[in-house]
Amino acid sequence: MNNEILLMNGYGIYVWSAFIFTFISFTFLYVVIKTQYLKERRKFIAKFGTLNAKRAAFAKSNSINKEILSNTSII
């Protein structure tokens, strides 16, 4: 039974390599995107931590929505 799943009448090498390639690609993409996310998050925490109380309060009131909308004219 186990051998049949592995060998698949001689097609096992093709079937398993296709599935393994797919899941290596998934893992690679997940790791790359997660690393980018953590890097930006760390940057944000570091930048926010260096702000004084007045600037931090201003930053909090300044929504990301405004940030995005303020740039719409550049399209």
């Binding site: 799943i5 698949m8 009448n9 097609y11 096992g12 093709y14 079937v15 390599s17 296709a18 599935f19 390639f21 797919t22 690609s25 998934f26 690679f28 993409l29 997940y30 790359v32 995107i33 997660k34 980018q36 996310y37 930006e40 998050r41 940057k43 944000f44 930048k47 926010f48 702000l51 600037r55 201003f58 930053a59 300044n62 929504s63 990301i64 929505n65 940030e67 995005i68 909308l69 740039n71 719409t72 004219s73 550049i74 399209i75």
Partner: protein, 235 residues
């Protein structure tokens, strides 16, 4: 209507959603893999090599759907002058590109036992390769021109040129005599695939769609944090 699509509101959802999507993806993928590798029958002609279909076909479907979505979002974003739609498109592109590569590589692996060759300059395969080049150009454009004002126009031109290729990919097997087999699944007419193979195919498609949703959410969150960081730089 757009107040519901404000990034702040979206961020409150997208920052929490990935863990649930990841869990759902793992469950769906486990069912899909069991069905695809163990339960589903072998094909009377292709034997066990038909199992490659369970990764090849969903990857091709999703990469085509994502490219169509990129085009739609970029055009609407340009018309409505909404930068957020471009950000959504940008966040969708990495998973679309990876699915395109998976479709090409698994197709080549499937081609060897079926056609006796890894690669043929056949209409379907070549048009999929062209689609991968458009994805690569789109991603490179964001990387090179991200901070330039022209980025929206450049990416819009790339997707408009690329979308011309999407119907060619879809109908190439009907328009030309190709090595690639015609579509076995048809929404409008009866599919030529048996339900014992259709079910695992649908489960694997759902799993792949959940994975692209997961990657999209993580990438979109990254983009929103990048904007926050730029905002903090200006303080």
């Amino acid at each position: 209507m757009f107040k519901y699509f404000e990034p702040n509101k979206i961020f409150s959802v997208t920052s929490k959603a990935p863990k649930y999507v990841l869990l759902l993806f793992i469950i769906t993928l486990s069912i899909g893999l069991t069905e695809a590798l163990i339960i589903s029958p072998e094909d009377y002609k292709q034997s066990h090599s038909v199992r490659i279909m369970y990764v090849h076909v969903p990857a091709a479907w999703i990469s085509l759907s994502i490219f169509s979505s990129l085009t739609f979002l970029s055009i609407i974003g340009f018309i409505l002058k909404n930068r957020n739609l471009f950000l959504i498109a940008k966040s969708l592109a990495p998973s679309g590109f990876v699915f395109n590569i998976i479709a090409l590589v698994t197709g080549a692996i499937w081609g060897k036992p079926t056609w006796g060759t890894w690669w043929a300059w056949d209409a379907r395969i070549t048009s999929m390769l062209i689609l991968a080049l458009f994805y690569a150009m789109y991603l490179l454009a964001w990387r090179i021109y991200e901070n330039k004002q022209s980025i929206f126009k450049i990416t819009l031109i790339i997707v408009i040129l690329g979308i011309v290729n999407v119907p060619i990919v879809k109908y190439s097997v009907d328009w030309w005599n190709t090595l690639h087999q015609p579509a076995s699944i048809n929404i409008l007419s009866k599919s030529s695939i048996h339900s014992s193979m259709l079910f695992p195919l649908m489960i694997m498609t759902a799993a792949f769609a959940l994975f692209s949703l997961l990657i999209f959410l993580m990438k979109y969150n990254t983009e929103l944090i990048k904007i926050k960081n730029k905002g903090l730089d200006r303080l």
